[in-house]
Amino acid sequence: MSTASEQQSTDVSRRRFLGYVLAASTLTVAAQLGEGAAAPHAEAAVPGVPEPADLYDLNDMLTDATLATANLITITLNADGTASFALPRTEVGQGITTSTAMLIAEELDLPLDKVQVSLADARPELVFNQLTGGSNTTISTYTPVRVAAATAKQQLLEAAATELGVPLSALSALQGVITAPDGRSLSYAELAVKAASLTNLQVSVTLKPATAFSVIGTPQNRIDALDAVTGRKQFAMDVQVAGAMPAMICRPPTINGTVVSVQNRTAVQAMPGITDVAVVSTGVAVRGRTFGQCIDAVRALQVTWGPGSEDAATDATVLAELRAAENPIVTPPLPLLTEAVDARFTFHFASNSALESNCAVADVRSGSAEIWACVKAPITAQEEIAAQLGLPVSAVTVHVTQGGGSFGRKLFHDAALEAAEVSKAMGKPVRLMWHRTDDFRHGRTHPMSISRVRATYSLGQVLTLDQRHTSVATEFGHGLGEIITSSVAKLPVGGLTFSETIFSLTQQTPYNFGVTTQLLTEVDNGFHTGSMRNIYSPNVRCAQELIVDRLAAAMGQDPYHFRRNFLKDPRAVAVLDKVAQVGNWGRTMAPGTAQGIAIHPEYHGFVAVLVEIDCTPATVNRQIPDAVTGPRVTKAVCAVDVGLAVNPKGLEAQMMGGIMDGIAVTLTSSLHLNGGYFQEGSWDNYFYTRQWNTPPELDIIVMPPTTGTPGGAGELAVAGAMAAVACAYGRATGTMPTTFPINHDAPLAFTPLPTVPPIPQSPTDGLSRAY
């Protein structure tokens, strides 16, 4: 790989930034979060083409929203020579604690294992600047974190210069030690107190040029890997809070059903281990000595339920609603001989449930509350919990815990809000956890959508591409909304709703396809929805890429060369060429197998994915108990350019995970709505990618730095992989898929669990299944 320096623009490295030295007992430095992080961008929209997201995307909005927030992030140099930083973002597996530690290690010249990164409590003074989403963390913190670390190093050098009696310019810092020309040296541990300041100071610093990087851009293992593999990593349910006993909710049989009455409250409260039973807004809460006894109590409760909000809804009724709401495509008059391709795609409800189900610890007292939860919008959580409890925001503390996955789920804080309500109702601390079955049935879903795409072509040119995406509404009530409110005036998309704005800011067509329009229409109803890793893109871009394959076929071109000819950006061409070369595009494939190739641009980055799929009967009909096997992706090659990969190894992991998601949403995983509830209630009902669906061959190529600044990394592979798998499936079977996942309309591959009682009992045959 070439070094980041080749791409780094010198003007940034020479810029001076403001850092702060804070009065403290050991050296404590700070920088403004948001400062200098945003690259210049176009001021206004050009109507029509290019599309808004080409000029100013969701990430620009998130970054700009942080600029006005004059609040500080602080690095403390401890007396033992380590550095500590509380990151005002949420780690859910994406690797931002590691990449942030790398930024600090780089600029501070301290070994990576001496940098400790924890997660900051909710800090309401940061206003917009504590939301983890839209793949924005590294983009928005890349400069501020380095400024703070550079400030620390400068102070250490000054303190060393005084101690050693030599000019600062003669000193060098390496691996946490400052050395004078005569060989005398002082460690950061020895300087941590001496470099401390009695007063707050404002200082001016420069950042390392990319040519001097020795940590940024190098592959590093996760800083929390040892904790993860030893079981020491603490998630919300592992936090020991005095008196916080397990709690669960008995939920209604259908979505948004309500409690009318509870028949046996006293009897349930007398069950072994159970301490409390309370009716709350989402059902009947129980608290007990163990979660096992809470499960028993939930199952024993006899509740009369009121109707839910979607009791008559099925997949078919929602689909009909979407079809009725779809906006027409009006194509302007076109030259004679113009031909068109036109298709409509259906994307079914999908679950963003993480392996760690919704959960939170809450200790609500008369005048205060303390919450422990993995939430990606902790300030919004704090505000809403305070409002619900009737407390001032300052009386509510929200500790952000490490997350067992998010995939969009932890943008919301449903469990934290619920835990606070339950703790208040019972007057006791609780450790509230959702049962897996509830997490699928009552948890948030990625909404069902349809996407119609029509493209016209003539004489070797694509003249128009129109896309009408119609979706059950996606909820954005987690703080993104606040950001949009503050930013909407300067967006080139004025007058749109929040969802339409997000859509406009994330959706791009990477091809020169003439007049291009992409519009979102939403149908609002009572479903609990939310983003799922990559928001709209997997569906929108999958539909587009399938149409691209169809255009290529109609115009007699190879899918790879066709894409190459029409791509707008050389970075897109480079990743496409890379996967075509590494993946041996065009090699002869056996009948029933095929390659597929696709590209996806988002968050200032580009990804290309090439897959090979096996749709032969021998593979499709593989028998694995309680599983969906079906077509198998046998090989995946992914090339990614995020401008600058701070940690290429972490980026590889993100791409691999994104590919597993893309395979799942294309081939196997969806929720089936019937009778007002989702049928799926376990991981053997909701068919996320398992070992038997995993591509035996997987190759990720991280491109050398291009822009010199990091783009988003957490999501973009999902859309690229989904599109590539769909295109490969179409080529292997000869039929373009139009319903996703492809198996959704097949008979259910499982028997749905009952809805009353709402959760199943744990089996008792564990020992007999030992291996």
Partner: protein, 158 residues
């Protein structure tokens, strides 16, 4: 209340709890051993996988009364001691391959992997595709590929 005695990570423990409470909750909620995770309570996701007498078991599906006083229950916390090292070679391979992302499933994945290797070894063979197809542990971050690589690396090292 019934009393239950077993060996947990090399130490004998006695717990007073009802017979039908599953071992997962006895460990997590009463004994404070949090390495085994809850992911479903149905024996499906396998995030709670631990060892009972050296074999992989979904302890969310084991009533505590099924465990006898001489039974040895090993969780991820006790795995290194089974080979007398600070880290089991499987854990070391997990680090070498930088397998974890969020890390929630990984204790269960590692315990399953160790048992799967021992099972294949007892049958006189190394792990193949059919064995991987039998590893049902969910990883929602999608680390499956690195899990395979780590298992293949570690399988001859213990």
């Amino acid at each position: 209340m019934p009393s239950h005695t077993f060996v947990l990570n090399g130490q004998q423990v006695t717990v007073d709890v009802e017979d039908d409470v599953r071992l997962l909750w006895v460990l997590r909620d009463i004994l404070g051993v949090t390495g085994p995770k809850y992911g479903c309570g149905l024996g499906v996701c396998q995030a709670c996988t631990s060892h009972v007498n050296g074999k992989a078991v979904n302890i969310c599906c084991v009533p505590v009364s099924d465990v006898q006083p001489t039974d040895e229950v090993t969780t991820i916390e006790g795995l290194p001691a089974t080979v007398g090292q600070d880290l089991h070679p499987m854990q070391q391979a997990w680090l070498d391959m930088d397998v974890p992302q969020c890390g929630y499933c990984q204790p269960g994945q590692i315990m399953a992997a160790v048992a799967k290797v021992l099972q294949a070894r007892a049958a006189g063979r190394q792990l193949g595709d059919a064995d991987f197809d039998e590893i049902r542990n969910i990883c929602r971050c999608g680390t499956y590929h690195r899990i395979r690589e780590a298992i293949l690396e570690a399988q001859t090292k213990f």
